[in-house]
Amino acid sequence: MRRIINYPPSPGLALLLGAAPFVAVGLAYLAASDARLAVDAADKLMPGVSAFYAQMSRLMTRVDPVVGQPLFWFDTWCSLARLLAGIGVSALIGIVCGVLIGFIPWLRAAFEPMIFALSLIPPLAVLPILFIAFGLGETSKLVLIVFGIAPFIVRDVALAVTAIPREQIIKAQTLGASTWQMIVDVVLPQALPRLIESVRLSLGSAWLFVIAAEAITAEGGLGYRIFLVRRYLAMDVILPYVVWITLLAFLLDFALRKLSAAAFPWTRLREA
């Protein structure tokens, strides 16, 4: 009898095992939904597959007269635009500030405590301030996302920069590199893979802030729609939207992972 830690499943079996909980949750939902619908055919809390299909095909295909396109795609576009803008700005701030703070001692001494303090403030607590300062439009939403994830990315990138072996920096200096050349040729290329990693880790929080901001005020967006139809207990909209958001998050994460592997092949090399 071997120890259980010495029984790895075969790749095919591992895939099957990974899929099993999803299937189990789906089946459990269908069973519960059927049971409730048998009692009350008009039950709204756990709609069946047909109700999902009817509602979603309406949202995906029927052009809404106000926004001039199907609501589902309009919401998706609104939320993704906010999310990507927020992540893009945060990544830019993260790499610039992270490299400078991590590499230049004076800047580190001056700004590291500040960035740390900023990262401790719960972003949703300052949301009212953002609404007051930047209005109820897109600016305040963007600032909320940036405020929420940029300090974390800056700290993470700065940490990665300080983790570059001191020997490499000394070696670069003995090869005649200036500070600028070290930043461009030594520090930045080694910080970029970490930037992508920390953006991947921040995706969850970024979605949180998008949904939260949309829940309070917006003209459209996945979070806006969910909170709008909540009043009518429209689970046939809410549940597919949640699944769609999850899928989008997964696809973004997957794309970032592939980008990292393609752009920085040296991070995953071993002696051949």
């Binding site: 070696k171 090869l175 290329p189």
Partner: protein, 271 residues
């Protein structure tokens, strides 16, 4: 001509003294090896020479002028590990130094200058036996090959002094031996000055022309930090006069061979 001189150098960290009163003069084209027990300050000595750290008292002179207060291109270095840049290919690693020197803003050379540099880098890689690995990344090389790369990378800048900090410490005996041969040959070919730190006595006397032992000569059992290490003994492992006579002999034999090659048939002279 490169001459290194330590003048009464002290290094203290707070109240603890690491090095005390180090006095050393090193002539041109010497291979100085610094030995001593671990933790005694060998590497500190090398760091002082590198200007990674500054002496508390005393001065370090390179060719009569005090060394810069930060690492500069006149002193090349190879560490035990992490001496090469993992995100650049082998060839790009070697080309870095001249590229930085030739292009302050972008750090890249173009056109004919780039081709010339590439040829120079490839020649150097060929010399250290890495020519066929030029396109690989350092992570794909063995430890010994990475150290060869680090050597090539440092040598392309033609430093006045090459500093080696236990460069073979992490290598297996086979690659260690071949590295010994390579370093020895490079030292001879480029007629440069090398300062190496090691804890391997065999290696020290095999490679070095001069071997210096660093140790605490005074010791206070109640306060061990009050006395630092200094040069405890100084051996001339391979005296210059012997080396010069070897070199003279080699040159004489080469000249004789050349002469013989120019006049292949002695009989022709008689005609």
């Amino acid at each position: 001509m490169t001459e290194i001189r330590f003048e009464k150098v002290w290094k203290e960290y707070g109240s603890s003294i690491v090095l005390e009163n180090v006095d050393l003069a090193l002539a041109d084209h010497e291979f100085l090896v610094v030995i001593g027990p671990s933790g005694v300050g060998k590497t500190t000595l090398l760091r002082l020479l590198l200007a990674q750290e500054r002496p508390t008292r005393g001065r370090i002179l390179l060719d009569g002028r005090e060394i810069a207060s930060e690492p500069t291109a006149d002193r090349g270095v190879v560490f035990q590990r992490y001496s090469v840049f993992p995100h650049k290919s082998v060839l790009a690693n070697v080309m870095l130094g001249p590229q930085w020197a030739g292009s302050p803003l972008v750090g890249r050379l173009f056109g004919a200058r780039k081709r010339a540099l590439r040829d120079q880098a490839m020649a150097l890689l060929d010399r250290v036996g890495l020519a066929e690995h030029a396109r690989k990344y350092p992570a794909q090389l063995s430890g010994g090959m990475q150290q060869r790369l680090a050597l090539a990378q440092a040598l392309i800048n033609k430093p006045k002094v090459l500093l080696l900090d236990e460069p073979f410490g992490a290598l297996d005996p086979g690659s260690r031996r071949s590295m010994h041969v390579l370093v020895r040959e490079l030292w001879e070919e480029q007629s440069m000055t090398i300062v190496m730190v090691t804890h391997d006595l065999m290696e020290a006397f095999h490679l070095g022309t001069r071997v210096v032992a660093i140790d605490k000569v005074r010791n206070d059992p109640q306060a061990p930090e009050r006395y630092g290490a200094t040069i405890a003994s100084d051996f001339c492992a391979k005296p210059r006069i012997v080396r010069d006579s070897f070199r003279f002999e080699a040159a004489r034999l080469r000249a004789a061979a050349e002469l013989a090659a120019k006049t292949p048939l002695l009989t022709r002279e008689k005609d």
